[in-house]
Symmetry: D2
Subunit: 389 residues, 4 copies
């Protein structure tokens, strides 16, 4: 069968959103200067500050997460600047292009894409290169399903007065993150991963130090879709917008932020951790190998699995979706084919979704001729969930 939609969409994001999110998403579309919209935008900003755990500014850009990363680079970096770019996966490497485009110079510290950055390597690099002004790092790599020790990395950066830029697209809401406490200067995320929201916005937390760096430039970056200062000059200064915001996406964002805070941020993250742990237990019990080198660096939002020899990952995913209604994600970029990804984020960081996903994974593996002990994966996963709440 080819169903109209998958029964559950459990990929690398976006995916399942709650009924409440959909309802809030469809609030009346009004002009962006209508007082109701202004009030909701203000509330969204406040909620986002709470989720980012920052007293400083947050900015909501009207485009996908990557717009936030490019805007950060364009707004911060000037020709001649040196940026220490930490690369543990595809999105870390991707950022190099934005550094270059801004006319700055990249210094890279890298590890294999199934590993995480060692903060000691960061210290060594910063010691060896005293001219470094910025450090960029991906909190959690969506293709690899791995997490970098952002807390420790930022602590090192602060020793050297280096401004930190953190891509936490897959981290916010799924991994612990304390922007002010950890001294992160600029964080970027999106609504469509662990917040369980609708894609199309970039969510930034910006420290006073980052603003100062933008303004210190010989030619501060203004009058562009990529300009962060434009937002400061309009929204922050006088509740205006540099261009039309995505009205309905703001509605949905406000909704998911409120939902996360009602559950409690810590508990929301704990749920992600518990389900991810269970997912890895289930996958391993099926004899499949995880992509991350160590359990300690595995993402709470995405489990990246190595495609076993002799299996066509595309055929597996098609089988899961078309016959059993569960959509998961293939590998991305260099990891395409050799990996596939099981998502458990936002609303889907849930035992019921996990049970469905693993049951369907087992059934589909069997359909494709792999030897499967039916129930082994789901059983191992559920067995770990005694303390879920």
């Amino acid at each position: 069968m080819t169903p109209e939609w998958p029964f559950l969409s459990l990929g690398a994001g976006p995916g399942e959103v709650s009924n409440r999110t959909l309802r809030d998403h469809m609030r009346p579309v009004v002009g962006h200067y209508d007082p109701m919209f202004i009030a909701i935008f203000e509330r969204t900003i406040e909620l986002l500050q709470r989720v980012y755990e920052t007293r400083h500014d947050v900015v909501v850009l009207q485009g996908e997460t990557v717009l936030g990363m490019e805007a950060a680079a364009a707004s911060l970096f000037a020709p001649g600047d040196v940026v220490l770019n930490l690369v543990s996966g595809i999105f870390g490497k991707w950022f190099e292009g934005f550094i270059t485009r801004a006319g700055a110079q990249t210094l890279e510290v890298g590890v294999p894409y199934n590993e995480a950055i060692d903060p000691e390597d960061v210290r060594r690099a910063l010691r060896a290169h005293p001219g470094v002004k910025f450090l960029s790092v991906v909190h959690a790599e969506t293709p690899s399903g791995t997490v970098n020790p952002v807390r420790d990395i930022c602590a090192v950066a602060r020793e050297f007065d280096v401004i930190t830029i953190v891509d936490t697209a897959l981290g916010l809401g799924g991994e612990p993150l304390h922007v002010d406490e950890w001294g992160i200067d600029l964080a970027v995320a999106g609504p469509q991963k662990c917040l369980g929201g609708v894609p199309g916005l970039a969510l930034l937390a910006i420290s006073p130090g980052a603003w100062a760096a933008m303004e210190r430039r010989a030619h501060p970056f203004r009058r562009s879709y990529l300009s962060l200062l434009d937002w400061r000059d309009t929204w922050a200064a006088r509740r205006a917008f540099p261009h039309t915001p995505s009205v309905s996406l703001v509605y949905a964002l406000e909704s998911v932020l409120a939902q996360v805070l009602e559950v409690g941020l810590e508990r929301h993250i704990a749920r992600h951790r518990a389900v991810a742990h269970a997912c890895r237990a289930g996958v391993s019990a099926l004899g499949l190998k995880l992509w991350p080198a160590r359990d300690a660096i595995a993402s709470s939002a995405v489990t990246t699995v190595r495609t076993p020899d002799g299996l066509d990952a595309g055929a597996l995913l098609a089988r899961m979706r078309e016959r059993y209604g569960v959509g998961v994600a293939g590998g991305y970029g260099e990891l395409a084919g050799t990996t596939f990804r099981l998502g458990h984020m936002g609303r889907s960081a849930h035992p019921a979704a996990l049970g469905a996903m693993l049951a369907v994974l087992e059934r589909s593996l069997a359909d494709l001729g792999r030897p499967v002990a039916f129930g082994a994966g789901v059983g191992a996963a559920m067995a770990t969930l005694a303390t879920w709440e």
Copy 2:
């Protein structure tokens, strides 16, 4: 945790509806004489005829399924009439009240509530009581999760020129049903079971013979919310309504009928059968006992399970829902406490929903101290689904 809503609502109906159903449900609320509403009502009637497999009239009453059963009794039965009421469960017994209220007399053929009616018993009763004018039977008993052989029963009834009334609330869309071919005179169902819809309407198929019986009465039953002739005199005669229809419920009904027919009625029913079969395999593998006496009479929409000794069914259901987000149903009426019910109907007649439900059932049984071989239930269920489509 007490989630705002269960992740999946898998009880005895109503339950999970598709996104498309919700969207169609929220079409603009207009006056019921607006041409758009009239057009949608007309289309609904045509679709319902196709789902009932009848060329004769169908009527949509503005209330729950049981309104349809009471309306049938009130419209058909006159004082002095004898009705053969077949009782294999709670809802069969319930109908006796409507027979009595209409002033008619009940003749009962019954079996234990975990069994099904034997058509030979019907033949014997009709032979012994030549004055019987009507026969009433429940197609599938929602409390018991059992199915009666309606085809054979109606064949017997036709031998004796007895008018048949079939409560197919749990049957329509989940069990084979061919109204004209089987010679059913009056069938009653609702949108919220195997059609996967929204509750609040009663769906009736009415044969010319049934209409004639209503009109033959000394005082035909008119000018009441329970009157079927009122609908014939208004809608069928001149596209008017005897009272305001439930506009948005008609929208949702039209939607689910169309969805079922797009999949194909036969295939829709086959899916119910496959998932129900898998569910029973899973439940049995967990060492639980099924309520129906034999597999052959088990419902495709609800699996009724005997509560094992020493288990508090209420505590189990609360655990499943509150901690793991899956809502299933307790036992009903006389079966409360001693049974509980797993639903797989409409959108939820699906392997992914079944995987989630059984995984959560296992986990919850273990939480309550029952010995559980994790994965045994889900595994056994999924193993049967090789031919699902």
Copy 3:
């Protein structure tokens, strides 16, 4: 053009609902014993008590308003009872059928259908007929757009210890109504008129005296879709339901009750009054005649207009809807053809809706060849709205 839907649906109800109502209407469809649904149902009951201004029981039946009137008759009246039925319009006359069906006897006090009942006539009738046990009256007649003085009528009834039944389908939320203060024993309304909601439920307020009358009967009326005692024995007694409630309609009802109370019931009613007043001013300025005999008895929710000589009301309505997107209502029953109706209820009791409706009415009258001073109607209407809020 034949638009998919009218731009505005401004008939005699149902019609325009707010975006918030639609959103709440589409909350997840769950089993009716799910704790979330139970909680919402409980809250709905409390809100309804506040809107009815009663400390006593309210009951929500799962069918259109008229079900509530028939249920009241079936539950209250026994053979031999005499019911004083006040008739000032079509729905008042309609109730006679329910009195008769219940085996009771009707005593009628009537006036022409463009008039209102005089409480003195009620007093005279009750004096002349000391055996009368019940009095029934329609608060506001939807076909006529007229209002009866329910407060004074009920005061008279109390002098004679007569139990009062009030059909306030068009009154609740649009006309002042204080159930306890006025001593109404049984009131019936629906969500789809002045509450601005979705049709399919009947909303009843029931006094201890009315319950007592139901129970005093030799054979209290139970085990029927029409039985009010069934609801008392299940919902009121143990938070259960006699049959499946219309889950999504309860959601929508809870929503509109909350919305009305947030605005404030008095203010909500004042808005209806102001817009109705403006509507009548506009209609009169166009040279059209109002159906009600006097302004003092005109409904705040529906303005019934006499079709001028030589005009085809059906053609006018088709023109308004198909060309200019505004749906209004034709005359009903005996008033079909000779009248048409302009609705201003719930969300549509609003100056903007009124402006649109009258502008389109003018344009359409002109299209049909009537002499029209463009702007006269809208202008006269808006001129009255200086104190709207």
Copy 4:
């Protein structure tokens, strides 16, 4: 009163969307590589080609319309290029910043902001400056409510082999536009104006000549949120995305494109023209002055009105919205205060919306102490609509 939302949102866009748009907007959020999303994206592209009347490529960027303009500049212009920028309003002038940022040089032909560009001035400028490679023009200025003769301007540009960039944010769907026939190289619009959609996307039509110009550059512009070539290399080449698309906004876009084409593009535009004409008649009849210098250049989507002496435009708008529920727009940028704007676009290009808006405008003017002949504005407007369909 301060209503939760305006009854009608009739500003300069975004504003009222249809129920169908909202429903389609809330289709399930799935991963962007889910086959259903891919299918909808493909269909969206095809529909957009039909609305743009082009056989060539269209690109949907994930951000507001202005992103499309900046992307066009960044993708097309190289240092040393000369761009003839036609300036008849604020958005025309705005584009100069993008030209400069791209390192190109601006040559301006300007007129007062209540006027339109004369194609002969364009010819003169191009003759005088043979090195011009690009020409940029705003089709319809949203602040001014004026329209430029894009057809004739593009005809002149083709004489000189100049590549044309047209900002048709307010034009597409409201003014005639034939991309291929008129020889437009790059057009940019959004869903939230005359298409009646939801903001957050930029819709581009790109000619082979424009693509060639992008690729001819010494350093073609790639690997940026602003890069058009990135979309060509991914979506056009292999049905992939350079970053996550705004899933739900694409759903809404597909919906409004389909709705416009079902009505018929020509008829959709004719409705805008008729309602705009009526709006101007109404405004003038109230003694207000229009901002555009001549009727022939007035926009079909927005009527910009000069604020009369002694009136506080902000107070007027607040009155209209807060007391009478109609949201219109203030003046923008340099035109703030001295003008305000009445919108009639997309779903709101409708006589009923116009009637409501003008009725409320009259009432509000009177409330603020302006002398108003009630009905004069609405009446004059409706009088013009005899041929509306």
